[in-house]
């Protein structure tokens, strides 16, 4: 094999392994029987391979954990040093054998350290992509297309109405608003791990060089991003600032905080929210968002479709999200497609977000 994928044009009866012999959905998560491991298991298992650090994918209590260094670090920050029996770091492109399976991690472009995991066994390659996005992000390695036989894709934004557009235009919208309402504090709701740092980095790319303020729940993870060489400019804890100083500033906070008691320390706060969900107006309105920013860590509909086609996979398994539409689309393209009934994945749960810098929950 040696890195080269066997062309899958041959009739299926020649193949010795069926894809479901390699990876199969189980109550604990996606299970590789020949390799004796799980990918992103939702309950404790002996051996776990973790795609990325969001709490719905990276859980504590496993025996052995294999993940990128960044993902391991994020798990340590969230759960403490004894989050797993043992850990092993793997780099992108590095190959590790488990039983008869070769395992490789490839950049997923989702958040810092996020990976797709390819499992090759008996001449068949299955790629579990975890969460991914195929657009530029200054805070993580770009998504890499991995040719494969079976592609396991998320479908968070698996409807044709989800077109994320140009994220820099959304940043421009935020900056225009700050210029138009200089007496108000702009609070940007963003998931603490990944989205917040990406928004900050894009603000810097757009030339915004004023200090950016952080909710306590953002500090630890944001400082970690900086320690990995991602420049984010001057950041200040919002809790140290006086109310008047916060006029005309931008503060990043977890989505649950931007409309609650915490906001009363800000002058006339304006609630913005950076999320792919903001594409649908009713969603933004239900949450009472005044400035929706369509910035997503997940591939949009066009991204999902383009990625599926680029992998060359003839079989598509669709995990969490809007599976129906994506399965339907793949079928119309002549692909074999089915939803995988995996439970326990979705938006990262902010209740289990990273601890604040002073050790309390956000």
């Amino acid at each position: 094999m040696a890195g080269k994928l066997a062309p899958m044009k041959s009739p299926p009866y020649i193949t010795t392994m069926r894809p479901q012999d390699i990876l199969v959905p189980q109550p604990h998560g996606l299970c590789c029987r020949p390799g004796e491991f799980y990918i992103d298991p939702v309950r404790p298992v002996a051996r776990a391979l973790i795609t990325h650090g969001h709490s719905d994918h990276a859980r504590a209590g496993h025996g052995a954990v294999l993940a990128t260094q960044e993902t391991l670090d994020m798990m340590r920050l969230r759960y403490g040093d004894d989050f797993a029996g043992s850990t092993q770091a793997i780099t992108y492109g590095e190959e590790i054998r488990f039983g008869t399976c070769q395992v490789k991690f490839h950049p997923a472009g989702h958040v810092l350290g996020s990976a797709q995991i390819s499992v090759t066994c008996g001449g068949v390659r299955v790629v579990a992509s975890g969460d991914y996005k195929d657009v530029a992000d200054p805070t993580c390695a770009p998504f890499e297309v991995v040719p494969c036989d079976v592609f396991i894709t998320e479908a968070t934004f698996g409807l044709p109405v989800f077109r994320h557009g140009n994220p820099q235009a959304e940043i421009a919208k935020l900056l225009n608003s700050v210029a138009l309402f200089p007496e108000r504090a702009h609070l940007v709701g963003a998931y603490s791990l990944g989205k917040a740092q990406r928004v900050i980095a894009m603000l810097r790319q757009a030339g915004y060089d004023a200090p950016i303020y952080l909710h306590g729940a953002m500090e630890t993870i944001t400082r970690y991003y900086e320690s990995r060489g991602i420049a984010l400019g001057e950041l200040r804890p919002a809790r140290d600032a006086k109310k008047v100083e916060l006029a005309g500033t931008i503060t990043l906070a977890p989505p649950t905080a931007i409309q609650d008691l915490w906001t009363r320390r800000f002058p006339d706060p304006l609630a913005a929210f950076a999320s792919g969900w903001m594409r649908v107006r009713a969603r933004a309105r239900q949450r009472g968002i005044e400035l929706p920013l369509v910035i997503s860590d997940h591939a949009d509909w066009d991204g999902l479709c383009a990625t599926i086609e680029a992998t060359g996979a003839h079989e598509i398994w669709v995990t969490h999200g809007q599976e129906d539409a994506l399965v339907h689309w793949a079928t119309t393209k002549g692909l074999t497609a089915r939803p995988l009934a995996l439970v326990g994945y979705g938006e990262e749960d902010e209740e289990t977000a990273l601890p604040t810098s002073d050790g309390t929950k956000a």
């Binding site: 409807l159 044709p160 109405v161 989800f162 077109r163 557009g165 919208k173 608003s177 138009l180 309402f181 409309q259 609650d260 008691l261 915490w262 906001t263 009363r264 006339d268 706060p269 609630a271 594409r279 649908v280 107006r281 009713a282 933004a284 309105r285 239900q286 949450r287 009472g288 968002i289 005044e290 400035l291 929706p292 066009d302 809007q322 129906d324 539409a325 339907h328 689309w329 119309t332």
Partner: protein, 545 residues
């Protein structure tokens, strides 16, 4: 178009009036003619092209997408224009593709486009615009902007561009047409104020202050005339002679919106040139009907003969601002009143009558009349009396709310004690507070005594009280439904709210069978246990038979 779309997008999420004004004014400042003028026309409802039907929009997307994917998407988004705007297939754009259309281009093209060319033209624009641009275009062509901006607000934003009084724009507005280049030239100080040739212009209205008990000590009853305050809507009926000597008649709302089209049955009565300030009412057998009845005639685009017959419209006149060619607004109220009486007599039409004056010699006498209008001269119309109006006999007619000239003295509202049941977060400044309250009263249900919701209120309390209620809600939440919290409401535990309201009507939409008009929180009754709150029967007794 994309700049206009960005404005509409932002406005559709912005709850605050002042912030809306700033967004619109900034748009007018940054956008050149004629686009900003067409935007003003779109927001004031002054565009005249025929709206596209939603069926046409649906046909466009069905021809370009997988029906199953469209169905799933429409189901998820819930709005046809938005679904189409978002899932419109991205064309392979060539580098020499035309730029997205400007708003002016869209409006002027639609004005003259033959109907059969509309689908192809729309498709081309949809190809050229981005997601927000497509959404705005579809909202515009289907005539469903719904961005929470009134014509008045849009004009006020335009006025702010030149630091002008919005009343001045209202005055010249009927003589203007999109794209309002001469208006913007004046607002930007590049030209004189446009001259209006409108034979029946709106005059900015004079408003009253609410009177407080403490005000009476400083007021002399001899200086004032009193009238009943009717529970209808304030209108200005203006007739004037056009250049061809024909009579032009217009009916304006108190904000200057032209509502003539909704009341064709009133227009023939206004056959003499003049400007009458009065109250629009429904009269049946010469009896004034309640506001609930009048409401059937409001906010309608067209009126049927049946509607006009069942809800006969009437104008009760209380001031005369113009008589023929003469502007009377500088005259004292007493003199205008004399002119008004003569004018109404000359009109001699049962559709228009005079607002009677309430005789009184002391404030005590007036208070007695206000408490019982039937015993004064309101007679059988007493039900429709909202209070009394006090007008200084020597007051000129001054636009706005000048101090000390006109007072309104409303009847005491109905008051009940209800129990807080649910609380919802507010918007904008109040988004971190639970500030919308659903309250209920006791009734005997299948399972014994229970609270049934009778209304919702989100004002009337002080900032201090809001903080107290917010704390209470957070502490005593029993269940959460999205942004709504259910709050403890047991016979011995819960918060009693004294709720004031103006009227009550039967409602099939509410479980309780009643709906309140203008409910607000009057007082917090921390002292009162919920079991002592009012019962539904008390409300049912208030319903007029």
């Amino acid at each position: 178009m994309n700049r206009f779309a960005a404005l509409l997008d932002r406005l559709s999420y912005e709850p605050g009036r002042n912030n809306k004004l700033r967004l619109i004014t900034a748009y007018f400042r940054d956008t050149p003619d004629p686009d900003r003028g067409y935007a003003l026309a779109a927001m004031t409802g002054a565009l005249s092209f025929k709206h596209a039907k939603s069926g046409l929009i649906r046909d466009l997307i069905v021809a370009r997408s997988d029906p199953a994917l469209f169905a799933l998407s429409y189901d998820y988004v819930g709005d046809l224009s938005e679904t189409v705007a978002l899932m419109w297939p991205r064309p392979d754009r060539l580098t020499n593709s035309p730029p997205p259309p400007s708003l002016g281009e869209v409006v002027t093209t639609l004005d003259s486009l033959p109907k059969k060319e509309l689908p192809a033209q729309l498709a081309q624009w949809l190809d050229e615009l981005d997601e927000t641009g497509r959404w705005a275009l579809l909202k515009l062509v289907t005539g469903a902007l719904r961005i929470g901006v009134s014509a008045r607000l849009a004009k006020t934003a335009a006025a702010a561009l030149g630091d002008k009084d919005p009343h001045d724009i209202e005055l010249i507005w009927p003589g203007l047409a999109p794209p309002y280049a001469e208006l913007f030239a004046w607002l930007e100080g590049r030209a004189a104020i446009p001259v209006t040739h409108d034979p029946a212009p709106f005059r900015p209205v004079m408003l009253a202050h609410a009177i407080e008990d403490s005000d009476f000590a400083n007021l002399d009853p001899n200086d004032f005339a009193a009238e009943w305050k009717w529970d209808g809507i304030r209108v200005q009926a203006v007739s004037g002679r056009a250049e061809d000597r024909t009579i032009v008649t217009r009916l304006y709302s108190r904000t200057g919106e032209d509502i003539t089209g909704a009341f064709p049955d009133l227009l023939p009565a206004l056959h003499l040139p003049g400007a009458v300030d009065g109250e629009l009412l429904v009269l049946r057998d010469k009896r004034v009907q309640t506001f609930n009845v009048l409401q059937q005639r409001l906010n309608r685009k067209s009126v049927t003969p049946k509607l006009m017959k069942d809800y006969p419209i009437h104008l009760r006149a209380y001031d005369l601002l113009g008589d023929g060619e003469n502007d009377l607004r500088e005259l004292p109220f007493e003199e205008r009143r004399d002119r008004l009486e003569a004018f109404i007599a000359k009109l001699n039409n049962p559709r228009v009558d005079l607002s009677v004056q309430v005789p009184f010699r002391s404030w005590d006498e007036l208070a007695a009349a206000r408490a019982d209008p039937a015993s004064a001269n309101a007679g059988e119309d007493a039900e429709a009396v909202e209070g009394v109006m006090l007008k200084r006999r020597d007051a000129a007619y001054v636009p706005g709310r000048p101090k000390g000239q006109w007072w309104k003295w409303k009847r005491d509202p109905h008051v009940i004690d209800a129990v807080l049941m649910y609380a919802q977060r507010g918007h904008g400044k109040r988004s971190s507070y639970y500030s919308d309250y659903t309250f209920g009263v006791w009734t005997t249900g299948d399972a014994g005594e229970e609270l049934v919701p009778v209304g919702k209120a989100y004002f009337g309390f002080t900032d201090e009280e809001l903080i107290q209620i917010d704390k209470f809600v957070r502490r005593y939440t029993t269940e959460r439904f999205g942004p709504v919290r259910q709050v403890v409401h047991e016979p011995d535990q819960g918060l009693v709210l004294e709720v004031a309201f103006e009227g009550l009507q039967r409602s099939t939409r509410h479980k309780s069978g009643v709906a309140m008009r203008f409910p607000r929180i009057n007082r917090l009754r921390w002292d009162k246990p919920p079991r002592e709150a009012d019962r539904l029967e008390t409300l049912e007794k208030m319903l007029s038979p």
